[in-house]
């Protein structure tokens, strides 16, 4: 099961990987190990302890809680968000913080934001960073969202911070959308991003998060960001870039050089795979009782002394 006798370092790493792999297949769930931009799938159960041992810190991504949605397949999106938070709270390794990648609410209503704020207080994490989804900026261009959940660094709402050697960038790609277009970053935000990254060494691991996918997942359904390619030109020189998005309520990945893109599950309801339905509305045709297998949270661990981040997917079921 494990290459205990590996003497050289690289063999030891290989052995450890095999060990993880062997243990991994024993249970449900998927662990994504990223090394130098290459993504490897492993199973999840039983790994938490091992991962925790050499991780310097971890954080959890949640997304698309859609508070206010009340139809099939999930008439109680508050309960499933609560279950997601309970799952996070139950982990032996406490995340340093949470990221919510947007669509906190369904219709940007004050009472929906109230409910979301109340539920998030159940999270046993010191802080949650938010970026808005298009559902959070209806009617007021996000004024209420930014007032409640903004970092207030830049007038446009975007921000960055450094956490234990990793540079995090929260981008806004759901405002000033154009007819027929996708998500949009805009010239001001791109100029800021270029400047924000300019002083960093290429060895700095970078995590970029925004609501809409920052690569073109499926143009027919508008799943992309008009000017994300420009942002990628600033990110390409870094050894490890992870781009975390929400919006499409399912996991999709893409590797482009050293940049790996991930979309997250929703805590509320699934959406169909690209092109597998007439439209990207809520996926209702799911087996009774199986909703929770479509919902989940994502944990990202930073491994001490390495550029790689380990991305773990966890379903609610």
């Amino acid at each position: 099961m494990q290459d205990h006798d590996d003497k050289q370092d690289d063999q030891a790493v290989h052995g450890r990987r095999q060990f993880l792999q062997c243990m991994a297949w024993a249970g449900a769930g998927t662990l994504w190990l990223m090394k130098g931009g290459v993504l490897q799938a492993h199973a999840l159960d039983g790994l938490a302890g091992g991962e925790a041992a050499d991780a310097s810190f971890s954080f959890v991504q949640i997304s698309d809680s859609h508070i206010g949605f009340h139809k099939e397949p999930n008439p109680d999106v508050a309960a499933t968000l609560r279950a997601s938070l309970a799952k996070i709270n139950a982990r032996s390794t406490k995340p340093d913080f949470l990221l919510h990648t947007g669509d906190l609410t369904h219709l940007s209503k004050p009472e929906e934001f109230d409910t979301l704020s109340g539920l998030m207080q159940e999270a046993k994490a010191p802080h949650t960073f938010y970026v808005p989804g298009e559902h959070d900026v209806i009617g007021d261009n996000g004024a209420e969202f930014f007032r409640r959940f903004g970092q207030h660094q830049q007038s446009g709402g975007w921000y960055s911070f450094d956490h234990r050697g990793v540079h995090f960038v929260g981008l806004i790609n759901v405002l000033n959308l154009k007819a027929g277009g996708f998500g949009s970053l805009g010239a001001d935000q791109l100029a800021w991003l270029k400047q924000d990254l300019a002083g960093l060494s290429a060895e700095t691991p970078v995590v970029v998060f925004a609501h809409m996918p920052m690569w073109t997942v499926y143009p027919q359904w508008g799943w992309g960001t008009d000017d994300s390619a420009e942002a990628m030109t600033y990110l390409r020189r870094f050894g490890s870039v992870s781009v975390l998005n929400g919006h499409i309520h399912q996991i999709q990945q893409k590797v482009e050089g050293k940049i790996t893109f991930y979309t997250a599950r929703s805590t509320a309801y699934p959406q169909p795979a690209p092109g597998k339905a007439d439209a990207p509305g809520p996926l209702k045709d799911i087996a009774p009782g199986s909703l929770q297998t479509y919902l989940g949270v994502r944990e990202v661990s930073h491994v001490r002394g390495k550029q790689a981040l380990a991305v773990t997917e966890e379903v609610l079921a």
Binding site: I138, K178, A179, G222, P282
Partner: protein, 112 residues
């Protein structure tokens, strides 16, 4: 007909207040419908005569918003399932619009 045209031309010149009163006085304005279904405006292009009240109805489980490209008519609020939005198009022209939540959804109202 030419009389009506001249009347609408007067409206287009900016006699908006008179227009509102006159349309009401003339009785119910003509009405046309756009259905929002499967993340699309149906019909995608709708041609109406000036003074027509256009009514959008959202048949999706997702909310949608009608937003004028270039802000040429008032935008709707978020429409939940089966909610409607209506506005009267007084001036001839081509009005492109989209859903600001799902901007790949586009439509056009052509007012003659």
């Amino acid at each position: 007909m030419s009389g009506a045209r001249a009347w609408w031309r007067a409206l287009a010149l900016g006699v908006a207040a008179l227009g509102a009163g006159s349309a009401a006085a003339a009785g119910k304005p003509a009405q046309a419908k756009v259905e929002i279904k499967h993340f699309a405006f149906v019909p995608e292009a709708l041609t109406v005569s000036a003074g027509t009240r256009v009514v959008w109805t959202n048949r999706d489980d997702e909310p949608h918003i009608v937003v004028s490209a270039g802000n040429r008519f008032a935008s709707s609020k978020a429409m939940d399932t089966d909610e409607t939005y209506a506005t009267v198009f007084d001036k001839p022209g081509t009005y492109a619009y989209f859903c600001s939540i799902h901007p790949h959804m586009v439509g056009t109202i052509i007012v003659r």
